[in-house]
Structures are given as C-alpha cells and as structure tokens.
C-alpha cells in the first residue's frame, strides 16, 4: 500500500465538497435561466391565451382588456371542471360575450378540454378543443386542424337547434358523428349543451360582478 494514500475521510469529504460545488453551480445556472426567461414565458403564455380567445371572438368585436376581465366560477356539474375561468368581452362597456375555459367533456379516452364562447344573446361564438387524448384518425376530428366539425357550433343556441335535438344524429339529434367514433362527438355536444344551459341560468348576471384580481400577482 502507498503510505501517502489519503485517509478515507478526506477522500469522502473532498468528493462531497466537489458534488456540493456542482450542485450550487447547477442551481445557479437554473436560477439565471429562470430569471432570464420568466418575463418572456409569461408573455408567451399571455399571447397564446389571447390567440385562443381571439379564435373564438374576433379582436374587433370587443374593446376591453379581456385577459384581466375574468371570474373563476365553480360549476362542476354543468361545466365539468372544478373551476372554469370566465372571460368577459365587452364593447364600449356593453356585454358582448363570455368565454369559458375550460369546459370539460368526458371523451372516449379521458377528459376533453374545450374553450366555449357564448354571446350575450345565448348563441355560440365558437367552440375549440384545448386538449384531448382521443384516438388519432378517429376521435381527434374534433380538433379543428383535423376537421372543420367543431366550427359547426358557431351561431348555434339552445333554440337553434331546439334543446331536444342537441345530440349527435345517431341519437336523433342534429350534430354529425364521425365514422368509427360516436362517443367523442357525443361527449362534446353534451358538454357544449350543458355550458349553454349554465349560461342561460347564470351567465348574463356575471357581467355585473366586479372583475377578479389575481391574488398571487407580483408587486
């Protein structure tokens, strides 16, 4: 044995010190990266959200700060989600539409998150899919990138078609199903119908409630 071999304690401590040093260094790197990107990430999130909202309700139809005029409501029976954020679009102070995100439908393979826009007169401004896990090629035709089916909701209301015909055609309603996939469109149609029913009961008065202020906002 080499008599100059360092003691095991020394070896272990040096190793721990080296590891600790790199842990600090790695954390510092992540911290710097976070600081450098946090603002940009928040902005990207806002832009992405605004794009979603504007796909439902065109930019020229409202003039308020949509991203900061919202309420969080909890109506799991009607809207499917524990909390749904309701954005309130106004033009010159007058109510234009509510945009609900998310409205959750129970699809063939899990939750389908929808964003639903309802005009003040109770007609649909539009419906889009935010996320889903439906079968590619079958149920995923609810996605507007795959098929225009979801665009067919625009302009519909509880009167047009009448409430009893808010079903897919196979169930005696007015809405197309897909070849090989009935469960998915059935779930979406039912969820949109429930959202409209919720709006009829709750919606119009929500425009009067003062806007919610983000509790965890910085500054």
């Amino acid at each position: 044995m080499n008599e100059r071999a360092p003691s095991p304690w020394r070896t272990a401590l040096t190793a721990a010190a080296v590891l600790g040093f790199f842990a600090v260094l790695g954390s510092a790197l992540v911290g710097v990266a976070y600081q450098g990107t946090a603002e940009r990430i928040a902005q990207s999130e806002r832009e992405a959200l605004l794009r979603q909202l504007n796909a439902i309700l065109a930019r020229h139809e409202y003039d308020n700060d949509l991203l900061n005029d919202y309420l969080d409501v909890s109506a799991p029976k009607r809207l499917g989600a524990e909390t749904t954020r309701v954005y309130r679009a106004r033009r010159q102070g007058k109510p234009v539409a509510l945009i609900l995100s998310p409205v959750v439908a129970q699809g063939y393979s899990g939750a389908i998150d929808l964003i639903v826009g309802i005009r003040v007169d109770g007609t649909l401004a539009g419906v889009r899919v935010l996320s889903h896990k439906e079968t590619p090629g079958l149920g995923d035709r609810i996605d507007e990138r795959k098929s225009p089916w979801i665009l067919g909701f625009s302009g519909k209301s509880l009167d047009e078609p009448p409430l009893s015909r808010w079903r897919v055609k196979r169930d005696g309603g007015d809405f197309d199903q897909f070849t090989g996939a009935t469960i998915t469109p059935r779930a979406v149609v039912a969820a949109v119908k429930e959202a409209l029913l919720w709006y009829r009961a709750q919606g119009p008065k929500l425009f009067e409630v003062p806007p919610q202020v983000e509790k965890t906002r910085h500054e």
């Binding site: 080296v18 992540v30 990266a33 990107t37 940009r40 990207s44």
Partner: protein
C-alpha cells in the same frame, strides 16, 4: 489531435456509432415525438444543444472531478442544462414546447448524453468533445427528422406541417401537401409506425454498410456480422 482524429469523431457520430441506429439509445423520445418532421427536428436540436453544453462542461472539468463522484456530477450538469433549455424553449418556442411536452425534460434521461459525457468528454480535450457532441447530436437529429418526415408523409401525406412552430410565422407556407385527397395511413402516426419506421431505417443502414463492406471500402466494425464470417 490530428485531422484524422476529428474526421473519425465526425464520421463515427453521424454514421458508424449513430446513437439512434447503432447504439439504439434515446429511443423513448425518438419513438414518441417523431410523428412529424418538425417535432423530430425540434427535439433533435434541443438534444444537440444539451449534448454540446454537457460535453463542453464535462470536458472542461474532467481533471478536477474525482472519479467517485463523476457520475452524479455529470447528472447534475446535464439536468441543469436541460432545465435551462426547457425554459428557453418555453419562452421562445411556446407552441413547440407545448407539443413536445414531457419529452423536453426527459432529455435528462436520454442515455446518449450521459453516455457521451462518460465515454468521451471525460477523457478528451474540449474541442474534440465539442466536435463529438455536434456529430452525435446531428446524427441523432438526422434520424429523428428522417423518421418524422417519413411517418408524416406516409401517415398524413404532408411534409413540414407546423413549420411555423420552429421557424416563425413566415414558415407557415412551407407545408407541402403531397396529395390533398390522401386518406392517411393511421398506422404510421400511431406508435407501431415508430417501431416499423425505425426498424426500416436500421435495416437500410445495415444494408448500406454491407454493400460498402463487400466493395472492400474500409469501414469501422459493422454492428452486424458479415454472413461469411458468421
């Protein structure tokens, strides 16, 4: 290191030791995200960036880190860089980040990266390690892109769909629809398509190696035994 050395590093990384086709490493992200060209390319570039950063750092510190703790140190370095890359993608490639989802943080678990850190960067100078990272990274990216392109083409009859996610709005027009009435082959988009596609690519690579091997061109040891030797 001589020019021959660098040439060998590059050729090995891109071809003879291609991580996806020969080492068969990093297959989980490879299979999962290659349902379109842009997704494959995006994850390939992210992986290459992490690989380059980790090889550079590991090579720089190779004399200071004791062998007993080198692997934890490498993992720390890689995890830090992956998190940084993830944040950057979230900030500037928001939609692509949403599509690639969990597979960006999972770059940490891509064995290629710790593999190159341990097998190459911890034993070689900085410049050689950087070259190795780029060669390996582009080799991996090429396979991801090729597999993504073929699955997209066979599966939905398009190429470069979603190019704007990576290259900005101007690239939206790059999408090529080969045949608008193409019904699509679902199998190619679904996970089995990834296995079949990758298998085909590996077979093609072995065929090419064998072809050049028989012509007497000097090649690195082929991964498959030559029939006459077997």
């Amino acid at each position: 290191m001589s020019d021959i050395g660098y040439r060998k590093i590059i050729v090995d990384g891109l071809w003879h030791n291609n991580q996806a086709l020969v080492a068969l490493l990093g297959l989980c992200p490879l299979m999962a995200v290659t349902n379109s060209l842009v997704n494959g390319l995006g994850l390939g570039l992210a992986t290459t960036a992490v690989l380059l950063l980790s090889n550079l750092s590991v090579s720089t510190i190779r004399h200071w880190v004791r062998p007993e703790v080198r692997l934890p140190v490498f993992v720390l370095i890689i995890a830090s860089f992956v998190t940084a890359v993830e944040l950057v993608m979230h900030a500037w490639f928001h939609e692509l980040y949403k599509i690639l989802g969990i597979f960006i943080p999972l770059i940490v678990t891509n064995c290629t990266i710790i593999g190159r850190a341990e097998a190459f960067a911890s034993r070689n100078p900085v410049l050689a390690s950087a070259t190795d990272a780029l060669a390996i990274g582009f080799g991996f990216t090429a396979v991801l892109t090729l597999l993504g392109a073929s699955r997209e083409l066979i599966g939905q009859g398009t190429l470069l769909s979603g190019a704007h996610l990576l290259f900005g709005e101007a690239a939206r027009a790059w999408e090529v629809t080969v045949n608008p009435d193409y019904p699509g082959v679902l199998l190619a988009i679904l996970p089995p398509g990834a296995f079949m596609g990758l298998g085909t690519l590996i077979a093609l690579k072995n065929l090419i190696d064998r072809y050049f091997g028989q012509r007497g061109t000097e090649t690195a040891p082929a991964p498959t035994p030559q029939p006459e030797q077997a």
